[in-house]
C-alpha cells in the first residue's frame, strides 16, 4: 500500500516572526525555514507504518520554489522512498494546493494521503479536508492514533469532548495532530543516503491544475502587546481590582 505525504516548507518554529513595516506580510527573507512540524509528525507516522509492514511505499510531496528541495531531502531522510516537487515560486493558497495534491494522489494511486493538520505559517487547517472533498473520499482529521488494516484505517482523533475513534474506508485523507508521535532525529547517514534518492519535478500544468486566488490578504499586523499584569495578594484584593476595572 502506498502513502502520499505532503510536506510544507515554513518559517522555523524557533524564529521570532516579525511583521513587515508596511503590513504586507511577515519577514521571510533570510530567516530559517524548515519542515512544518505537523508534517514531520505525518512523515514519522508513515515511516512507522512502513516499518510495521502496513505500507510498502512512501512518496513525499511539496509545493514551492527551489529551496523546497531541502524539505523534500528531509522527508527522504525520514524514510520516504521518493519525492515529488511541484515547482511554484509564488504564494499558494489552500484550495490550489488541495487540487494539486488531489491530482497527484490520483495519479500515484496512493491509498492514504497524510498531511499535518495545519501549517504553522498560515494555520489555515484546510488543505487535507479539501483534498478529501475534491476526491470525494473519507477523511479523518486531527489524528492521535492511526492503524491501517486491509482496506480500512482506524483513526483516533482528538475532539473537544475527548477522543473519538473513526473507521474509514481507504483511500482516505488523514491529518495528524501533535500527540500522534514524537518524530525521530534525522541521522547523518540517513541524510547522506537521502541525497541519492530520486525527486521528480512537476508543474501545476503537468497536473492539470489551475492556480487560483480565492482569498486576498488585506493586512498583516502584530498582535497587540500585552500590558503588564498586577500582582494581588489576597482574594479580596483580586475582587476589588476586578471591580475597579468594571470586570465583575
Amino acid at each position: 500500500m502506498k502513502a502520499l505525504v505532503s510536506v510544507k516548507r515554513v518559517v522555523d518554529y524557533n524564529v521570532r516572526v516579525q511583521v513587515k513595516s508596511d503590513g504586507s506580510g511577515v519577514i521571510t527573507e533570510g530567516v530559517k525555514h524548515s519542515m512544518n512540524p505537523f508534517d514531520e509528525i505525518a512523515m514519522e507516522e508513515a515511516v512507522r507504518l512502513k516499518e510495521k509492514g502496513k505500507l510498502t511505499e512512501i512518496v513525499a510531496i511539496t509545493i514551492g520554489g527551489a529551496k523546497n528541495e531541502e524539505t523534500l531531502r528531509s522527508a527522504l531522510a525520514f524514510g520516504a522512498d521518493r519525492a515529488i516537487h511541484i515547482k511554484e515560486e509564488g504564494d499558494v493558497q489552500p484550495l490550489t494546493a488541495a487540487r494539486a495534491f488531489a491530482a497527484a494522489l490520483k495519479k500515484e494511486g496512493a491509498q492514504v494521503f497524510f498531511a499535518g493538520k495545519q501549517a504553522i505559517d498560515d494555520d489555515a487547517n484546510q488543505t487535507g479536508q479539501m483534498v478529501a472533498a475534491l476526491l470525494d473520499i473519507a477523511q479523518a482529521t486531527f489524528a492521535s492514533k492511526v492503524e491501517l488494516d486491509g482496506g480500512k484505517a482506524v483513526v483516533t482523533r482528538e475532539v473537544d469532548a475527548g477522543l473519538e475513534t473513526l473507521e474509514v474506508d481507504l483511500p482516505a485523507v488523514i491529518t495528524t495532530d501533535l500527540r500522534l508521535n514524537e518524530p525521530r532525529y534525522l541521522k547523518l547517514p540517513d541524510i547522506m543516503k537521502a541525497k541519492k534518492k530520486p525527486i521528480e519535478t512537476v508543474t501545476f500544468a503537468d497536473l492539470g491544475v489551475e492556480k487560483g486566488a480565492a482569498l486576498t490578504i488585506s493586512k498583516t499586523s502584530a498582535p497587540p502587546k500585552r500590558s503588564k499584569g498586577i500582582m494581588v495578594k489576597t482574594v479580596d484584593e483580586l475582587v476589588s481590582a476586578l471591580k475597579s476595572k468594571g470586570l465583575v
Binding site: D12, N14, V15, R16, Q18, S21, I27, E29, G30, V31, K32, S34, E182, R184, Y185, L186, K187, L188, P189, I191, M192, K195
Partner: protein, 560 residues
C-alpha cells in the same frame, strides 16, 4: 582525545573534512572543488555545521573587504553574491561622554579604517550564498551536526571528527527511542574552521602545543542588534565607527569600539565590542551596549525604529603575534579558529576566507600528488607567509597591544602615525602579555557600576534580547557548559569577583540564586546560550569549558 566507542558508530570517509561553515570553511571547500575541477581530479569534501542551517550561528558586523572573494569568484556579481550596499561614507567618532563626541576629519582616520571599495553586508547571508556555490561545486554540507571530538590515532595523527550524539538525556543516558549515536567522519585532511575559540581548535592547540610563543591570544566580545529604521534616516552604505564612551576614551581598563552600519532595506546594524581584557568584574558588556545606543550620534538613527534581532559573539584579536602554529599531523586551523582577524580594521571575514583558500591549495597539492593524508601540511604556512594575508596582518601587528596599553585616544594616535606615516611598518613593536582571564581585579577593589534601566525603546533587558536571537536548545540534554570544579563559582569566584559570569554572559545563562535559607547556588540556564564563547575565555578561574550541545541547538540568526 578520542573517546572509546561504547556504541557502534557509522563511519564515512572523505578526502577533506571541514568543521564549521563560516567564511573560512566555505571558502576552503569551494577552492578545493575548483582546483579539483581544473585538474580533472576528484576530491571529496564534507562540511559539518553545528547551526540548524548555514548562517544560523554567524554573527559579524560587517563591513566586508571583497579581496578574497574577488580571487575565489571573480564573477561573484553575476553569481548573485549578496553584496548590495557599497560603502558610501566613513565616519569615526570619539565619544567622550554620554552626550558628547568628537567627529574625526577624514584625513585623521587611520588608513585601515577607510572603507572605500568595501561593502556593508550580512556575513550570515554571504555564508548562505557561499554554501550554495559550494554545493553546486559538489561539496556536501551538513548543518545541524556538531563536531564533538577529534579522532586521533595511535600515531598522534588527526583522522577526522566524531559528531555529537543526538537524544542523550540530562543525566547523560540515552533517551529511549530517540537516541542516535554520532557518526565518525574520517578524512585524509581535516580543516578546523570553528571561528573564534573553537572548542576543538582549543584542544588541538593544547594537544599539539601550537600556541604562539610571542604573545597570548586576546579576545573581545561583540554585541550586535539588527534594526529597521525610518527610511528618512537611512543612508545605505554609511559606516559609523566609534571609540570611547561607554568604554574608556583615555583609560586602559575597559577598551573597545562601536559600530553602526547601514545595510539595504532600511536596515542598520549597531554593535559594541568590549575587549575581554577589561578589569572591573562589575562591568557588564550587555548593559554597556544597551546604554551606548542612547548616545545622540547613535540614537538619532534608531529612534522610532524597530529592533529585529540580537546576538553576541566573541572575536579573536591577538593578530600575528598571537597566531598559533597552523598545522599538525592530518589537519590545520583556518580562519578565526587560528586567529586570522585583522583587529586594526575589525575585519576577519576576508582574512578567514583567504586562509581557507591557502590551506585548500596546500591540501589539494598533497592530494593531487597522491598523498593518503595524515602528514603535516607544511605547504599551508609557507603559502600563508608568502601571501597578502601575512603582509596585512604584519602591518597591523601592534594595534591591539597599543590600545590595551595606551587607551583609545593615545593608542589611536600611535596607530594613526603607524598606519599613515609608516604604512604599518613602524620601527616599534608592542605586545600585551597578560591573558584576558588574568585581568580582573578583585571585587573588593572595584567600583560597582549602576546601569540605567532600559527604556524599552532604545534599550532592552537581557531576556527580551535573547528572545530575539531565536535561540533554542533541546531541553533534556547534558549541560554543554562544563565546570571542571563545580565548587568554584560559589566558593572562589563569588567572594573574589562577585562571580562575573552573571554579567559577562550576554544571554543570562549564569545566575547566582539565593535560597530562602540564604544559601547560594550557581545556576546554568544552558538553553539560552548563544554560543559566543565568552565564558570559556573570561572566567577568571578558567573553570568553564564550552562544548558543543546537541546539533541544531543555539541561535537562529537571520541576516546577522
Amino acid at each position: 582525545m578520542s573517546v572509546e566507542t561504547p556504541v557502534e558508530r557509522d563511519v564515512m570517509e572523505y578526502d577533506v573534512l571541514i568543521v564549521g561553515a563560516g567564511p573560512s570553511g566555505l571558502a576552503a571547500a569551494c577552492k578545493l572543488k575548483q582546483i579539483a575541477a581544473e585538474k580533472g581530479a576528484e576530491i571529496s569534501v564534507c562540511v559539518v555545521e553545528k547551526g540548524s542551517e548555514v548562517g544560523a550561528h554567524i554573527l559579524s558586523g560587517a563591513v566586508f573587504e571583497p579581496r578574497a572573494l574577488n580571487e575565489l569568484f571573480p564573477n561573484w556579481k553575476e553569481l548573485g553574491a549578496p553584496l548590495n550596499a557599497p560603502v558610501v561614507r566613513d565616519e569615526l567618532h570619539l565619544f567622550y561622554s554620554p552626550q558628547k563626541s568628537f567627529k574625526f576629519l577624514n584625513f585623521m582616520i587611520p588608513s585601515p579604517m577607510h572603507n572605500e571599495g568595501n561593502y556593508v553586508i550580512s556575513l550570515g547571508n554571504l555564508c548562505r550564498w557561499l554554501a550554495q556555490q559550494a554545493e553546486s561545486l559538489g561539496v556536501e554540507i551538513y548543518p545541524g551536526f556538531a563536531a564533538q571530538e577529534v579522532l586521533i590515532d595511535e600515531q598522534n595523527v588527526v583522522r577526522g571528527v566524531q559528531i555529537g550524539d543526538l537524544g542523550v538525556g540530562h543525566d547523560g543516558k540515552p533517551k529511549d527511542g530517540v537516541y542516535a549515536p554520532g557518526m565518525e567522519l574520517r578524512a585524509k585532511y581535516t580543516l578546523f574552521s570553528e571561528g573564534c575559540r573553537g572548542h576543538l581548535g582549543k584542544r588541538l592547540i593544547q594537544q599539539y602545543q601550537l600556541e604562539s610563543k610571542d604573545a597570548p591570544q586576546h579576545y573581545g566580545i561583540g554585541l550586535k542588534e539588527l534594526w529597521e529604521i525610518d527610511p528618512a534616516k537611512h543612508e545605505k552604505g554609511l559606516v559609523v565607527h566609534g571609540a570611547g564612551w561607554p568604554l574608556q576614551a583615555f583609560g586602559t581598563e575597559a577598551t573597545g569600539g562601536s559600530f553602526l552600519y547601514h545595510l539595504e532595506n532600511n536596515q542598520v546594524v549597531v554593535g559594541l565590542i568590549v575587549d575581554l581584557s577589561y578589569s572591573n568584574p562589575f562591568l557588564s558588556p550587555f548593559d554597556e551596549f544597551q546604554r551606548f545606543k542612547h548616545h545622540p550620534v547613535i540614537a538619532k538613527y534608531l529612534e522610532g525604529g524597530k529592533r529585529l534581532s540580537y546576538g553576541a559573539r566573541a572575536l579573536v584579536k591577538g593578530g600575528l603575534d598571537a597566531l598559533p602554529k597552523l598545522v599538525f599531523p592530518g589537519g590545520a586551523l583556518i580562519g578565526d579558529d587560528a586567529g586570522m582577524l585583522n583587529y586594526s580594521k575589525i575585519k576577519g571575514s576576508h582574512t578567514a576566507m583567504k586562509s581557507g583558500m591557502l590551506a585548500a591549495e596546500a591540501v589539494a597539492e598533497r592530494l593531487l600528488a597522491g598523498s593518503e593524508g595524515g602528514d603535516v601540511l607544511n605547504g599551508y604556512p609557507e603559502k600563508f607567509k608568502a601571501s597578502w594575508l601575512y603582509d596585512e596582518l604584519y602591518r597591523s601587528r601592534n594595534f591591539g597591544a597599543v590600545l590595551h596599553k595606551f587607551g583609545a585616544l593615545i593608542g589611536g594616535t600611535i596607530n594613526w602615525i603607524e598606519q599613515n606615516i609608516f604604512g604599518g611598518k613602524a620601527p616599534w613593536h608592542f605586545r600585551d602579555l597578560k591573558k584576558d582571564h588574568e585581568t580582573l581585579k578583585p571585587a573588593a577593589q572595584s567600583q560597582k557600576i549602576v546601569y540605567p534601566k532600559p527604556d524599552g525603546k532604545l534599550s532592552f533587558d537581557k531576556l527580551s534580547s535573547v528572545f530575539l536571537s531565536s535561540t533554542n536548545h533541546e531541553e533534556d540534554q547534558p549541560v554543554h557548559l562544563r565546570l571542571k570544579d563545580p565548587s568554584i563559582p560559589i566558593g572562589r569566584n563569588l567572594p573574589l569577583y562577585d562571580e562575573p559570569a552573571q554579567r559577562y554572559c550576554p544571554a543570562g545563562v549564569y545566575e547566582v540564586v539565593t535560597a530562602a535559607t540564604g544559601d547560594k547556588r550557581f545556576q546554568i540556564n544552558a538553553q539560552n546560550c548563544v554560543h559566543c564563547k565568552t565564558c570559556d575565555i573570561k572566567d577568571p578561574s578558567q573553570n568553564i569549558t564550552w562544548v558543543a550541545p546537541e546539533g541544531n541547538g543555539g541561535p537562529n540568526y537571520p541576516n546577522m
